[in-house]
């Protein structure tokens, strides 16, 4: 039976039915998300416009954009701009975060793709290899950060020892202490830890590419690289992009890795670290909420730009 044999009223009835079903299916998920995400988000955005203090949340008073930007008058005709937007440390942390996310996600994508392609081929022991590469992702971040802090230690760290044995460096490097290397150390650990996530998602996308496409291409004698570029890549691109988007979102919120691994200095402070400092360590909950709200907008801006640039298909017009 095909559509042509159905009458028009039948079709529109069916479409209506399916639309109703769609909302019924979406409702439970949306309700849960509204409760666990939308409400706390709304609270935080609201706190950003108040003078709330963490131990006095109930007494928050509306202060408008004061936490974002306001003119602080010394009282003698002079003054200066204050607020998150006027804090050079905030802008430095925005830059740090974007730099970190850009570099680590690019490396992860390349490595993840290579690993996924390797694992997509069949060879003896593939199951074990697949399990092995997931290990870094399976270790709790808190633990892996501590583990790497230990391995990167300047005196007892095995990384220095290894590099010195091989002769790549002649004296121990204080990886996490020196501003010049700290950010690279963080990127390296992040790449190590999250490449499996990338690889697994790309692998799942590869698995869904029908085999006969390869068969046909192979018979036509298409070279492997061309095959990858012309056939495989376009087919796995949607899955790959989703993986990249989620990794980027994760990387832009980077927190515990830096929190455990390096000193909270200007060189490595990320947006989340900046927000946390103000929310919980200092008595500036409202200011921290404003920073969190800005962090949200910065990430949203980057994500929307990314989706636009890559022409990711949200509506599926086929």
């Amino acid at each position: 039976m095909d559509a042509e044999t159905m009458t028009a009223p039948d079709l529109s009835r069916l479409a209506r039915q399916r639309k109703r079903a769609a909302w019924a299916f979406l409702a439970p998920m949306l309700i849960v998300l509204a409760a666990v995400a939308a409400w706390p988000l709304a609270r935080t955005i609201w706190f950003g416009f108040t003078d709330a203090s963490l131990d006095q949340l109930g007494n928050a008073q509306w202060v408008g954009f004061q936490n974002y930007l306001h003119w602080f008058d010394y009282g003698n005709g002079q003054g200066e701009w204050e607020g998150v937007l006027a804090d050079p440390r905030w802008w430095r942390s925005v830059w740090n975060t974007i730099w970190f996310a850009g570099l680590s996600v690019s490396i992860e994508t390349v490595f993840g793709l290579v690993i996924a392609l390797v694992l997509h081929r069949s060879f003896p022991g593939r199951g074990l290899v697949r399990a092995a590469i997931l290990i870094p992702w399976a270790i709790p971040t808190i633990v892996s950060a501590k583990m790497w802090a230990w391995m990167l230690h300047d005196q007892f760290g095995i990384v220095n020892d290894m590099l010195m044995r091989v002769g790549l460096i002649d004296s121990a490097i204080a990886w996490t202490a020196t501003p010049g290397t700290a950010m690279f150390a963080i990127v390296a650990v992040d790449v190590w830890k999250t490449t499996p996530f990338m690889a697994l998602l790309i692998l799942a996308a590869l698995q869904m590419v029908p085999d006969d496409i390869y068969e046909a291409a192979r018979m036509d004698g298409v070279p492997a690289f061309r095959l990858f570029r012309k056939v495989t890549l376009p087919l796995i691109l949607p899955g790959l992009l989703v993986a990249v988007v989620f990794r980027t979102l994760d990387a832009l919120r980077v927190f515990d890795l830096i929190y455990v691994l390096t000193p909270n200095t200007d060189a490595t402070r990320s947006m989340s670290i900046y927000a946390r400092e103000n929310l919980f360590d200092y008595d500036k909950f409202a200011y921290g909420s404003a920073a969190s709200t800005l962090l949200f907008f910065v990430i949203a801006l980057i994500t929307i730009t990314f989706i636009r640039v890559t022409r990711m298909n949200l509506e599926r017009e086929d």
């Binding site: 769609a22 439970p28 633990v143």
Partner: protein, 274 residues
């Protein structure tokens, strides 16, 4: 040439495995050392001292905490897969206005830092009377598992050809039946993958577990690991921490080994690879 290629391939496999496993291997090595021996660098086990494992397993609550983690992570996986599969079906296969916007909104949930929702979520959980209950974790973890699972499953579901459900629609099958009969069998790789990733995420989460639970018998493993300490506040017992990490990571490795067959099985039914 072909042989060279094969060697090259296996070399690549070896490098991949080595970089992934070495830190874990080093953790195991460290977990078998105690006291001053930890500060000496060695590449092969110098001693087999199981005392770190014994002291951890004999602490009594560790088994309970392990169970807490397992229960929470499993509940998170089941709940997010159920919610996400049905939602993904609606988003991927049914045309209605505002789909793109809805997807973006769901995605935007992933843009808020965990730190920033902590206070609001804490208020909410106390209001619902869920404080110090594992349900608090199951619900709060939806923040990161739901957007991700919905998105991944939607992308995968869209790629399935229209023909596969056409027949069922024409036969008048309900949407639920279509999901169950038509899509689930085809969606295995994606569902196992996202389920596994959600499981690992829930298994490893630290901040919420720390904030929303207050007794040792309710706590999950990452928090328990963070609580492991030496004889004073500044002493870091690497041996114990590594031992706990090894114990925590092993189930995940086993899980991957069990489910990897499912990840392998391709889209085309019956096409057995690997």
């Amino acid at each position: 040439m072909a042989r060279l290629k094969t060697y090259g391939f296996y070399l690549l496999v070896a490098v991949i495995v080595l970089q992934a496993v070495f830190p874990f291997y080093y953790a195991i090595l460290t977990s078998l050392e105690t006291g001053q021996a930890i500060f000496d660098i060695n590449y092969l086990p110098a001693a087999l001292d199981w005392s770190n494992y014994r002291s951890m397993l004999s602490s009594g609550v560790f088994g309970r905490q392990f169970l807490n983690s397992a229960v929470t992570a499993s509940a998170v996986v089941v709940l997010s897969l159920v919610l996400a599969t049905t939602a993904a079906y609606a988003l991927a296969r049914i045309r209605f206005r505002g789909r793109g916007l809805l997807l973006l909104t769901i995605l935007s949930v992933s843009m808020f830092p965990q730190i920033a929702v902590l206070a609001g979520l804490f208020e909410l959980i106390r209001a619902f009377g869920l404080f110090n209950s594992l349900w608090a974790l199951v619900f709060s973890y939806m923040i990161f598992t739901l957007p991700f699972t919905v998105w991944v499953l939607t992308t995968f579901m869209r790629k399935l050809p229209v023909e596969i459900e056409e027949a069922a629609i024409m036969d008048g099958a309900s949407a639920l039946t279509i999901i169950w009969r038509v899509f689930l069998p085809l969606m295995w790789p994606a569902m196992v993958t996202t389920g596994l990733l959600a499981f690992i995420h829930a298994w490893n989460e630290f901040l919420f577990a720390l904030t929303f639970l207050s007794t040792d018998t309710q706590r999950t493993v990452p928090v328990a690991i963070a609580m492991i300490s030496g004889r004073s506040e500044f002493e870091i017992p690497w041996g114990n921490i590594m031992a706990a990490s090894v114990v925590v990571t092993l189930p995940l490795v086993v899980l991957v080994l069990i489910f990897q067959r499912k990840i392998v099985s391709g889209l085309t039914a019956g096409a057995v690879k690997g």
